[in-house]
Symmetry: C2
Subunit: 79 residues, 2 copies
């Protein structure tokens, strides 16, 4: 079984209210934080054992469902 880690980040310039609010709260708690970015990760356990096939399938999943190309960029790693 292949496990893919899909990391979905907001593109540069897209507002990240979750990150901004987390930063604000950490600062209120007294931490010295320059920036916080919120990232979404999906760990996908695939039925296939073929790594190349898996890469293709996961790319397709990102395009069809997981990421919004207008605001997101994604990266896929396997473990």
């Amino acid at each position: 079984m292949v496990v893919a880690e899909v990391k979905i980040k907001l593109k540069k310039g897209v507002a990240d209210p979750e990150g901004a609010n987390t930063k604000k709260t950490l600062e209120l708690l007294g931490f010295d934080v320059a920036d916080v970015k919120a990232v979404k990760v999906f760990e996908i356990h695939l039925g296939t054992d073929d790594r190349e096939d898996a890469q293709k399938k996961v790319e397709e999943m990102c395009q069809k469902l997981l990421a919004n190309p207008v605001i997101h960029e994604y990266s896929i790693t396997f473990s």
Copy 2:
């Protein structure tokens, strides 16, 4: 500047509705998926350059704000 990546996962046995729904939808789209887990990641850019100090601070952030010890487990990596 040190950048910490805090990965916040649900503990084993805790329901993961986001992962479950993502799995269901991927299956409806025709993908062969064994399991999907939703993970939250915060990329924290710290004011300090001291790696050891950063590790301590980020641990504290997790305990005070980012993770709920009842349902979450977290891991911290630096880049």
